[in-house]
Symmetry: C2
Subunit: 189 residues, 2 copies
């Protein structure tokens, strides 16, 4: 790791370690971290140079980051090389990450569960297993469609909701009461 300040080096190394706890490997994590804190787009050689692993590894790492939509490729005028940068908006990054993980991990599971619960089974053990799968399916579906829904909200609303935290309960209770008063027959569900 050449030419990296201790501050950046530390950040990069941490992301390397963390990366390997997720599906992403160490070098990919480091490349992303480097791009994230860089004040300008970097080309593959600069990354190779800064992080000290092979040029081909950087190439593969960048490909992987592109598949996660976490880096943007751009060309600088009068320069033939490809430059990479990490989008600046942290909320956008968060959303992208959530979307990709959902696509790769949640959706396949959901579809497996959906198939499983509509299978005809006679065995008592299978019946029980199916109930359990249904419970899991319903939870995942609820949470993940909530996620998709909430993605549509603009950033300010999202921040407002987060800041509200557990106090959202009061708001929901209040909403319940409103419904009773307004609708008469509707209960506070």
């Amino acid at each position: 790791m050449k030419n990296l300040s201790p501050l950046v080096q530390n950040f990069v190394l941490h992301f390397g370690e963390m990366g390997s706890r997720w599906g992403i490997n160490r070098t990919v994590g480091q490349i992303y971290a480097l791009l994230y804190v860089s004040d300008r787009p970097l080309n593959a050689d600069e990354i190779t140079d800064a992080l000290d692993f092979s040029r081909s590894n950087v190439s593969m790492g960048l490909k992987e980051l592109e598949s996660w939509r976490l880096v943007r490729l751009q060309h600088l005028p009068g320069d033939r090389r490809e430059f990479f940068s990490a989008p600046e908006d942290v909320w956008m990054i968060f959303k992208t990450l959530a979307e990709e993980r959902k696509k790769r991990e949640v959706d396949p599971t959901l579809s497996m569960l959906r198939d499983a619960v509509i299978t005809d089974v006679s065995d008592a053990g299978d019946k029980f297993a199916q109930q359990r799968m249904k419970a899991m399916h319903d939870l995942i579906e609820l949470v993940s469609s909530w996620f998709t829904d909430v993605h549509k909200l603009d950033q300010d609303t999202l921040v407002q909701l987060m800041r509200l935290g557990a106090k959202v309960q009061k708001l929901l209770e209040f909403k319940g009461k409103l419904k009773i008063v307004a609708g008469g027959k509707k209960s506070a569900t």
Copy 2:
């Protein structure tokens, strides 16, 4: 994989694959899946038998699942062996998982970022990097403290909130208006 119905076998295999995308390895994923759909606690030998890998591997896998608080150990009267089961409440499972991941992945990152942003730096590049780290820190802190907060809500409230989805925006707008009317000086933040 002996004595497993196709339904269960499929579920178990899927969890094995998925497990390896997370930090958890294939066998641990399979053990959990098996316990999750089982209608009674199982002992280590039964698991070994059903999944066809070594007794010692099962032992290690169970230890790992215990460290994630995803399985419960219990003793059956008149039986010396240890029996394991997966807690039934899916919301509880989800919360446990979120808590553990937060503890293992988010908290260390947060603490690294906190240290990084309070470091004194003079270099312009470092100053920029620090800004970026601050943005990341603030987002993670917001989301993760929201998580902690929301954990305290009872299940029904949580489900209600999720069902509301993007409509929560209306509620927040309404809340804003209320504040203006009631407080006079308070703005709808």
